[in-house]
Every structure is written in C-alpha cells, then in structure tokens.
C-alpha cells in the first residue's frame, strides 16, 4: 500500500475541488465506445505536450547524437507536464492528470526492451499510437474490473469496494483475447 498511499494525498487535493466530470459515468459501462470517447477527448488535450519530440526514438547508436539535444528536451517536457498538472487552471488539471496511464518514455523503453532485433526502430507517430493502444488497454482493464466488482457485489459478496486480484483474474482471458 506504500506506493499508492504516498501518491494519493497530492492527487486527492486536486479532483476534490473539481466539479464531477461529465465523462465519468461512461466508465461504468463495459463498452469500448465509452472508453474510446473519453480517450479521444483526452487525445486532443494531450497531443501538443509531446508533439515536439523527435520522430524516431531509437536505442541504437543513432540515438547518441539525438540524445544530447532531445534528452534534455524530453526532461523539460516532463517537468512542464507535471507543473501544468499541479498549478494550471483547475479544469485543465483534472483532464491532464488522468490522460496518460503510461508515460511515453517508459513505454518506448519497454517496447525497445521487447524487440529481439536491437536495430528495430519505431516512428514517432507509431509510438504515439501504441501509447493510445496501451491506454485503451489499461482503461479497459480498469473498466472491466469495476464491472466484475459490481457483479460480485450483486452476488452477495463482501462489498468493500476494493478491486481484487480475483476480478482481474476473471477479466484477463477475454481482455487479452480482445487486444
């Protein structure tokens, strides 16, 4: 619980002041379309922040010359993002915080770890699209977990509102088949 607890207080301050977001109820449903709409909405908001990064992100030696220039850029962008999340206008804050389950840099790193051919590269646009894909995946997992929890509650289980591993176990096979 240590990690989630520490992250909570900072975030908890934010959304409490905000009016409930209109898109909120859609997550309850298990439909991809609901998730999709929210994601698309967010995409419009989020896109500009990591637009200026380089087109090709690579692990190979080619990156070296880019690294000097773009690494600092990326770091700055990250800082800017978090700054925005915490200090900018309230309405924006609510939207900015929730938009990215996985930061693009981390995702890029993980993808490159997964390549067998170390020379493999990926376009920036493709990278963004994979980000979208994984975002949908995570959101879908969450939405389905909530659905499973609701089901369990209706069945007369202990309803403490805690998402359990069992919920995830039930939804995973279908989720993985769907993605």
């Amino acid at each position: 619980m240590a990690a989630p607890k520490t992250s909570n207080p900072v975030r908890r301050n934010g959304p409490m002041f905000k009016p409930p977001r209109s898109v909120k109820p859609t997550t309850q449903s298990n439909k991809l379309t609901g998730t999709a709409k929210r994601i698309l909405k967010k995409a419009t908001a989020s896109r500009p922040s990591f637009e200026p990064a380089t087109t090709l992100i690579s692990t190979s030696s080619e990156q070296e010359d880019e690294d000097a220039a773009s690494d600092s850029d990326r770091d700055e962008e990250m800082d800017d993002n978090s700054d925005n999340e915490r200090r900018s206008a309230p309405t924006q804050t609510a939207q900015e915080i929730v938009r990215d389950p996985i930061p693009p840099q981390l995702l890029a790193r993980l993808l490159y770890e997964g390549f067998e051919d170390k020379d493999m590269k990926i376009q920036k646009g493709a990278m963004d699209l994979v980000g979208k894909y994984m975002e949908i995946f995570v959101r879908e997992a969450m939405a389905r977990a909530q659905f499973e929890r609701d089901d369990a509650n209706k069945g007369g289980g202990i309803s403490d509102g805690f998402l359990q591993v069992e919920d995830l176990e039930k939804l995973t096979p279908q989720l993985v088949l769907d993605f």
């Binding site: 989630p4 981390l106 770890e113 997964g114 894909y133």
Partner: protein
C-alpha cells in the same frame, strides 16, 4: 542482455517504474469511481500490462519485418487491432486526428527532420511516411 543478472535487474526496475505509474493511474481512476484497489490488484495489473507491452513489441517487430522494414510505422500498429473492430475504429480515429494535427503544425518540424536526415547522410526516402525504407547503416 549480455548476462542474466543486469538484464534481470533492468527488467525489475522497468517493472517497478511501470508499477508506480499504473498505481497512480489506478488511484486516480478509483477516486473518481469511488472505489478502491488492493495493492495486489495493482501489482497484478502491472504484470498484465508489462506482458501485454512485451507481446505488443514482439508483434510490431514481426509485422514490420514481414513488410520488409526495419522501422515500425503506424500501419503495423493498426494491425494490432485486426481482431477487434471497436478498437480499430478508435485507433483509426486517433490516427486521423494525429495526421490532421501534423498537417497543421508539423510543417516546421518536418523541415527540421529532413535537415537531420541529410546531416546523417541518409537517402531522404520516399517523401511519404518519414523514415520509410530507412535502414540502419
């Protein structure tokens, strides 16, 4: 992946990094839904997402190789959604949105890219899809 130890450690670090960000996301989502998640749930979700990312990267690599490329482009990513129509629609929309954005604001950036490519002495490619057909020297 020279030896198992550093590789394992790197994997662990990446996983914990993923754990952290997934944890934040789940907390955020739970707050809005008035729910809670057990730490075990977050851990399990992290494992799931990690595995999914690894599989995805394998798939993408295979798709690109099958097309005779060494650079993954958006077509490969679209192939990921071949079994799920809803997902395909969403990704298509996202892609279109990205393209229109690029068309509007990407003129300067593209010029820069071209410069970079020239600097590195690579053939400038076919114009469409930057980096297409580009191979490592």
């Amino acid at each position: 992946m020279a030896s198992t130890d550093p590789a394992l450690e790197r994997e662990e670090r990446l996983k914990s990094s993923l754990w952290y960000t997934i944890g934040q996301f789940v907390d955020e989502e739970c707050l809005q839904q008035n729910l809670n998640a057990t730490p075990q749930f977050i851990g399990a979700l992290t494992e799931l997402v990690y595995t999914q990312i690894t599989n995805t990267s394998r798939d993408l690599e295979t798709f690109a190789k099958h097309a005779g490329r060494r650079v993954i482009n958006t077509d490969d990513v679209m192939l990921l959604s071949r079994r799920n129509e809803g997902l395909e629609t969403v990704l298509k929309q996202a892609l279109d949105e990205m393209k229109t954005k690029e068309g509007r604001s990407g003129a300067g950036a593209e010029a820069e890219e071209k410069k970079k490519k020239k600097k590195r002495g690579r053939p400038s490619g076919m114009g469409v899809g930057k980096g297409k057909g580009k191979t490592k020297t």
